[in-house]
């Protein structure tokens, strides 16, 4: 009995020492990595800004175009055409983002503009789809009540349909922008710059640190974008519609 307890205590001590060592080693290695990644700091800052500019331009243009398209397609007068258009968009979403950028390059040449164009197209689809689906999911009863109360179709759209679809529309914008940030490094391949420069050069040179210097900020930016849009969503969507509050 006593022996057994002793053994158990010893095992515990061993485990504790092992854990401490592992943690110490890992943190030492992490320190190492961090300092080697940090040498790319000025590249990271410059390329991040360059990349986020592209994302922002593509994103804003996509919202400006896709939301009205989604609204237009959801109008009862478009019922027949809308299904076809939305199906086409769905298929379009299956096109790989890299292929999209390659196509943009082959038509528009090299540089920022075709990169932004490619990102714009990629962002467009989820936003248009969610706007359309969000508006279609607004219960018929609400629209009937609004009509019966004497609202004009435009008032119904602004005061009833859009506010109630806003959560779903924002969900689309959130997904779309996160995907766009994740896709943006590919812009480097067609001369658009951005963090892809560190990532792809890192791959080519077999330089793991350089690759991480591009990949980690890209991941962080995608998360940051998602959190940021999430905050905007919380701010703009009525508490009565937000399922999380």
């Amino acid at each position: 009995m006593k022996y057994e307890r002793h053994m158990r205590a010893a095992a515990c001590v061993n485990a504790a020492i092992g854990l401490t060592l592992t943690v110490a080693c890992t943190s030492a290695r992490a320190d190492n990595w961090w300092s080697s990644v940090a040498q790319y700091r000025s590249d990271i800052v410059y390329q991040s800004i360059q990349m986020m500019e592209m994302v922002a331009i593509a994103g804003v243009l996509a919202i400006v175009v896709a939301v009205p398209v989604g609204i237009y397609m959801s109008r009862p007068s478009q019922r027949h055409g809308a299904a076809v258009v939305m199906q086409t968009l769905n298929v379009g979403q299956a096109v790989p983002k890299l292929a999209l950028l390659a196509l943009a390059m082959s038509v528009m040449g090299i540089g920022r503009v075709p990169a932004i164009f490619g990102l714009w197209v990629a962002t467009l689809l989820p936003i248009a789809l969610n706007t359309y689906e969000g508006l279609r999911a607004v219960p018929r009863a609400l629209i009937e009540a609004a009509t019966g109360m004497g609202m004009t179709p435009l008032q119904i759209l602004w005061r009833v349909e859009l506010p109630n679809a806003l959560y779903v529309i924002f969900a689309g914008i959130r997904t779309a922008l996160a995907i766009t940030v994740g896709t943006a490094p590919l812009a480097f391949l067609i001369g658009g710059g951005g963090l892809g420069e560190l990532i792809f050069t890192g791959i080519d040179l077999n330089d793991f640190t350089m690759l991480l210097a591009g990949a980690i900020p890209t991941a962080l930016l995608a998360i940051f974008t998602d959190v940021f849009v999430g905050q905007v969503q919380r701010g703009l969507v009525s508490r009565g519609v937000n399922p999380q509050s």
Binding site: A141, E144, M149, R159, V160, S238
Partner: protein, 372 residues
Amino acid sequence: MIKLSNVTKRYGGTSGPVVDGINMEVGAGEICVLLGPSGCGKTTTLKMINRLIQPTSGKIFLEGKDTDEFDVVELRRRIGYVIQQIGLFPNMTVEENICVVPQLLGWDKAKARRRAAELLEIVALDPGVFLARYPKDLSGGQAQRVGVARALATDPAVMLMDEPFGAIDPINRELIQDEFLRIQRQVKKTIVFVSHDIDEAVKMADKIAIFRAGQLEQFDTPDNILARPASPFIAGFVGTDRALKRLRLVRARDALSACGCSVRVGESSARARAVLAEHGADQIVLLDAADKPQGYFTAAQLHALDGVLTSAHAFRIQNTANPGDDLRAVVSSMFASGASWLPTVDDDGRFVGYVSQAHIVELLRVPAVEQT
């Protein structure tokens, strides 16, 4: 107030009209229930009044004016509208929901908000608690009250209600119907109300319009519909227990008989026998000085008794009715206590008369010549 003249609705594809040549008139302050099985055209008829559906032919008049002459949006803003799903806007608070139409009509904000608080008081919800709530935080019954409050916001003379209590469980439905009738006594709106529930119709309506396959089969008071159904279809629709349903339409105060048939404590047995004979009743109630019933005597018992009557000799009274009770409740408590009559006492406990089974039967009897 609302007059439908030869109103017909026909959809392009279907063979027959969904609503066929309806003529009816709803007076100011009346509740008119459109009743019938699903697909009979009652909802279509309702929606033609605020032009959510445009009639194929015929005219509808609101306060004497052809509804086609109104601007459609203006017409709808003049008419309160409540639907079964209630249709509160989830993105708006209760207050914002109620203020929708006032806002559309350009009321100033402070006035609209005062009105919202006032309306919540009317529908018995505490404004302090409910104004800021969102519809998702309301129970079904609360949401329904808010729906009614919203329809009342601009104090429209006319309200259209499409199965407003259909989605509420039976217990709460009774409560909210009572509540609604209370509100109606206060606001006196002209209401057209769609229902498929005969009990609800009998309870709420001043007039019932029964529809069948687009036709108006009978348009009459609830009592006449139950007592004198115009066709076998209506007789079937209102149910074989329609005579019992009529009980609900009569209050105990309107079914009293033998009101003077009572003696006071201290009066003689001989006097009691004389009073009994005068009223031709089988029993007599013993009252104290404050007119409160102390017990009763039957005719047989009085013959055996002599001298002064006291409550010690009397049978105990098991149950009493209130003049405001409907006969259904009264008959139900008669059955429960095995009595063939109940003394009726007012709110202060004073005896006002009898309700007897024999008299109820007489009251509800439809003269044989009228029966087909």
